[in-house]
Amino acid sequence: MAFISIRSLTKSYTKGKTSVTPLENLSLDVPQGEFLALMGPSGSGKTTLLNLIAGIDTPSSGQLEINGRNIADLSQRQLTQWRATHVGYIFQLYHLVPVLSAYENIELPLLLGKLTKAERRMKIQAALDLVDLSDRAHHRPAELSGGQEQRVAIARAIVHHPELLVADEPTGDLDRDSADSILTLLQQLATEHGKTIVMVTHDPKAAQAAHRTLHLEKGQLINNPRQ
């Protein structure tokens, strides 16, 4: 059974007097542990699809099952709880909280659970070790480079051990070296830690790091080849 199972998924909304359908009748399966890249021109529906998979947005129709649970039926509150447990989101511009240190940013998802301080410290240390930033734990985002910020964002996304990672242009704001190191890290998370990763990118080199690349255009998948 696919980890992500999408059937006849449509998302439409009205903008002013116009009806917009960024995704129409889309079907897709993603097995557990796959690193999937979504490519396509601006407005093709990649980010909309990513947001739907992450439970950030809700579909207009269709079925969207993640690990056997149809999240299309969840209320906003249930979706928020589901995200807190099952999803890690990595943003292009990192979206770290500027007033909190790297350690405190990584701690944010853990504060939603019932872990003790010592348990939290252990998990944060493990995440920091994984992204190789233990020596920057008490630095604030403004004191880190872009690549380091994105590593903190990845540590924050994985610290609570979600099965699913979604990444929206995670290397879009980084230089080539930093981008390569982030992509290697994502590959490692999929291969060694069994995370299912869906990544939106414009960068063909970033897409090459993924196990499979899908192309979207006008809300439709235009091919679905296994790479």
């Binding site: 947001n51 992450a54 950030i56 947005d57 509150r77 928020t80 995200r83 807190a84 989101y89 924050r156």
Partner: protein, 382 residues
């Protein structure tokens, strides 16, 4: 819930915004507590000035103002002989015929201002029970006794009305023979003359009013007396009722105090709201990120309120400190006396409630605006 440190550190993101929020809330709270203290001070001095056991007899038609009233000198003895059940001390009935007058007084430094003058005999102390002589003696002819706060009404230093000093009225020099206190009453701002002195200096042969203190007599007994002795043309009014009517006379001033405070506060509140709108609007994406992590809108709202409360309560504390050093214990003169501004528990609670409301209800509109965009849209905002 988000950690409290998040709210605390957000306060210091923009120091100028923090200063505006703290300053704005301090201004609102300070104005509010000043208004409450002013109104409370005025109310309490007027209510403390009147006793339910005292009745004032004034000339018919002058119930609103003792200063305009004229009562025949003979009325005083008629009251003593006709009304039973008045308080007595060593055989002297508690009945005091007095002349009340408002006129300019000049002090030794040459400063001249309106003062409240009362011509009395020593038996005035039998009806005005709050009066206590602090130093000196009751005024004999050519002397005056001054209330502890009389200098505030005259706008001079207390030393100018100290024992042995001279004041001038109608070109007559009078020695200060005594200083008295009458805590919390308008009497404390008055200058007491020997009654005959004041009568001759003001060239009047009538009293302004007669104040009497009832023991087992009742107000109706005094009222009946005024009806029976129609020839004296007297009206009776309970002293506490008289001062409460005087309080109603000051109602428009109180309303003006509130209106002024409300207008300035409204400006400060709108300024503060504007600051909060700007502060929160720049964090829409951050709020969305926290929601994407799994924090509910409710948890984020609580954090924003915590942050605002920290700022407004700091402002409230600042307002209390300013009020403590600049307002508490300060005396304020008004036309019939002087009252003291006091930071009573009620004043403090009002200020605290205002600070809490500013930080909670005042935060809701900008916070809701910050949290209301859909998550995908908010994540895209810059």
């Amino acid at each position: 819930m988000l950690p409290f440190t998040y709210a605390l550190r957000n306060l210091f993101r923009d120091l100028s915004r923090l200063a505006q929020t703290v300053g704005g809330s301090a201004l609102v709270v300070l104005l509010l507590i000043a208004s409450v203290a002013l109104n409370q001070g005025m109310d309490s001095v007027l209510s403390a000035s009147g006793s339910a056991k005292n009745v004032i007899l004034v000339g018919k038609g002058s119930e609103e103002s003792i200063e305009r009233s004229e009562v025949h000198l003979d009325a005083e003895s008629s009251v003593i002989t006709s009304i039973r059940g008045l308080e007595e001390q060593l055989g002297t009935p508690a009945v005091s015929g007095e002349i009340t007058y408002q006129a300019p007084i000049r002090t030794a430094s040459g400063k001249e201002d309106q003062a409240l003058l009362r011509g009395v005999l020593e038996k005035a102390l039998l009806v005005h029970r709050s009066v206590r002589l602090l130093e000196g003696h009751f005024p004999a002819p050519g002397e005056v006794m001054v209330g502890k706060l009389a200098h505030r009404n005259l706008g001079v230093d207390a030393s100018e009305l100290a024992l042995g000093q001279r004041i001038y009225f109608e070109n007559e020099a009078l020695n200060v023979s005594g200083i008295f206190t009458a805590p919390g009453t308008v009497l404390e701002s008055e200058i007491w003359f020997d009654r005959n002195d004041l009568a001759s200096l003001t060239q009047r042969d009538t009293l302004s009013a007669i104040t009497l203190r009832m023991d087992n007599a009742e107000f109706d007994d005094v009222h009946v007396f005024t009806l029976q002795r129609n020839d004296l043309e007297l009206a009776a009014i309970r002293e506490d009722v008289y001062y409460s009517k005087l309080g109603a006379f000051y109602q428009p001033i109180k309303v003006m105090i509130w209106v002024t405070a409300a207008l300035v506060s409204a400006g400060a509140i709108f300024g503060g709201l504007n600051t909060l709108y700007a502060a929160f609007a720049s964090r829409i994406r951050e709020m969305a990120t926290l929601q994407s992590i799994g924090y509910t809108r409710g948890a984020l709202l609580v954090s924003l309120i915590q942050e605002s409360l920290l700022a407004t309560l700091t402002g409230t504390l600042l307002a209390f400190l300013i009020a403590y050093f600049l307002l508490d214990g300060r005396t304020v003169p008004f036309s019939v006396g002087t009252f003291t501004l006091i930071l009573t528990p009620q004043v403090i609670l009002t200020g605290l409630a205002a600070g809490i409301l500013l930080g909670t209800i005042g935060t809701l509109p900008p916070a809701i605006r910050c949290l209301s965009p859909s998550l995908p849209k908010a994540l895209r905002s810059s």
